[in-house]
């Protein structure tokens, strides 16, 4: 115990603090590289001084002061860099004058602008996710690489490329105006959602879910909810993530194997998260037209509140999918709707809808599609066709537990199949 545990908890605390510090520094210096460098140095200094001198009364202000001093030193050593930043600063002020200092001396939370910069539509989607994890979740580059199961060097290149574009194309650090929010906020939400999805349903690897990645996404959604309390889609997204995450303990068996919704032990669902998520659904769907995350959260809530699959309110779920498809047409939502129809009207009705989606390019290579078809064919007693669809899904599936699950299903319809 002792020092090591203390250091770990200090580092965990700094994850949150680091994002705030970084945002304040970026605001001041307009340069992400410099901000990252001096933020790390300030945190290292804190790790040296705080255990000896005690934690200062305003840790955030201490870190910012320390980091700023280091930035000024750095700029003194590198005049050319300083000159370039001075130009940046003048131009940034021209575009967006600095806010007045906080009256009570507390540090203003400037992370919102960092969210919008990291999720800027001018960056490639994969870079947005990487930057958000690094700058706002406070993950190191190897941690970000691990979250997406890519080599560290690949992730480092991706982050360097993204920062270069921010710097050289001059993507600003600013919160979009109220008129731009409807266009820009979905990009930020999408980043958090895709981080969660990677954790909840890993695209490859030995494990079905990687809970630490999913929890980072929830943490980011909570920060965003505090920063944008009036945005109902932010409430909807956080609600959706909590309502799905509530089932985590029941989603895998003792050996890490897949347990489907039908077979999950619902007593193991996290009631506290379900209650919190359900409250957020109310927030998300009250006071204006519904948004896509709010509706998805409402669907998740109906699942979470049902005692079992049979008593789930499938007619209501189908209606919500109709609303969702009108808001955000997507073959994946259409696939889920077909599965709900199968529960409401029987497998033949669901299968007919799935077959209508056969030519959909976005479902090509998406293993849940052949899996859903296979399950319905199985229920209809059409075993050879079910076996063919399971084989198709097996060729596409990414994680080991899902592969094992599909093999078990395949054996049920074709005991002679020789696959291992």
């Amino acid at each position: 115990m002792g020092e090591r545990a203390a250091a770990t908890s200090v580092e965990a605390m700094f994850r949150e603090e680091r994002g705030r510090l970084l945002a304040s520094l970026v605001r001041r210096f307009g340069d992400l590289d410099l901000a990252e460098e001096v933020a790390s140095e300030a945190i290292e200094a804190a790790l040296v001084h705080w255990p000896v001198d005690g934690v200062p009364s305003r840790p955030g202000a201490w870190l910012l002061t320390t980091a700023r001093r280091k930035a000024v030193d750095r700029l003194r050593r590198d005049q050319a860099y300083a000159a370039r930043l001075a130009v940046l600063q003048v131009e940034a002020d021209r575009a967006d004058p600095a806010p007045p200092a906080d009256a009570d001396g507390d540090l203003p939370d400037e992370r919102l602008q960092l969210f919008f910069t990291c999720a800027h539509p001018a960056l490639p989607a994969e870079d947005r996710v990487a930057l958000t994890l690094r700058c706002l979740a406070g993950l190191t580059t190897p941690e970000v690489a691990r979250a997406f199961l890519v080599p560290s060097a690949t992730m480092a290149q991706r982050i360097v490329r993204a920062k270069k574009k921010i710097r050289e194309a001059r993507i600003p650090f600013r919160v979009p105006g109220a008129d731009e929010l409807p266009e820009r906020l979905p990009g930020v939400l999408q980043v958090i959602y895709s981080i969660f999805t990677e954790g909840y349903a890993a695209s490859s690897g030995p494990d079905l879910q990687r809970l630490d990645v999913a929890e980072e996404a929830i943490r980011l959604a909570r920060i965003l909810r505090r920063l944008l309390p009036a945005e109902r889609e932010v409430a909807g997204l956080l609600g959706l993530l909590l309502l799905i995450h509530a089932r985590r303990a029941a989603r895998t068996g003792p050996g890490g194997e897949v347990v489907l919704l039908d077979d999950q032990d619902r007593r193991r669902w996290d009631r506290a998260l379900i209650a919190e998520g359900a409250d957020l659904v109310v927030v998300a769907l009250t006071g204006g037209p519904p948004g896509a995350y709010g509706v998805q959260a409402a669907i998740a809530a109906l699942h979470d509140e049902a005692v079992d699959v049979a008593s789930t309110d499938w007619p209501q779920i189908v209606l919500l999918y109709d609303v969702l498809l009108a808001l955000a047409p997507s073959p994946i939502f259409a696939l889920n709707r077909a599965a709900a129809i199968a529960m409401r009207d029987g497998p033949a009705a669901g299968l007919a809808l799935l077959d209508d989606l056969a030519g959909e390019p976005r479902l090509r290579g998406y293993h849940p599609y052949p899996t859903a078809r296979a399950d319905l064919l199985h229920r209809l007693g059409r075993f050879p066709e079910a076996a063919a669809a399971y084989r198709e899904a097996l060729d596409l599936v990414g994680t080991d537990p899902e592969r094992a699950h599909l093999l078990r299903r395949l054996r049920a319809v074709d005991p002679a199949d020789g696959r291992l």
């Binding site: 575009a95 800027h120 001018a122 050289e168 194309a169 001059r170 993507i171 600003p172 600013r174």
Partner: protein, 114 residues
């Protein structure tokens, strides 16, 4: 910070509701009045283009073209001076060339001074 706006027009068969001359006049006026316009021209028809290449031995090759193999044809450009990419993207979005199947590509101009 200067940005080049490359205005790509959709080819005739792809084009839907091309911008009117009036739209361009309004846009040009707005950019001038905002003080962001550095330079800009529309280009003569692509059939008038000529390409020049010089080989390693200094030999000049002159060819007619290039002709569009892609859906879009460079039809003009603007250089604007604005504080950041978001402002540049706003001017690109206001540009009549970004509508009717066309697109405007925003390229920061490299600054070797700083």
């Amino acid at each position: 910070m200067k940005y080049l706006l490359l205005i790509n027009a959709a080819t005739a068969e792809e084009q839907c509701e091309p911008a009117s001359f009036e739209d361009w006049v309004v846009y040009d006026k707005a950019a001038k009045e905002a003080g962001v316009l550095v330079d800009g021209h529309s280009l003569a028809d692509l059939t008038t283009a000529t390409a020049v290449r010089v080989g390693p031995d200094g030999e000049r090759t002159i060819t007619d073209g290039p002709f569009a193999e892609t859906r879009e044809v460079l039809g003009g450009y603007l250089v604007i001076d604005v504080p950041d990419l978001d402002v540049a993207l706003d001017w690109a979005a206001r540009c009549p060339g970004s509508r009717g199947g066309g697109s405007v590509v925003v390229r920061p101009i490299a600054d070797f001074e700083s």
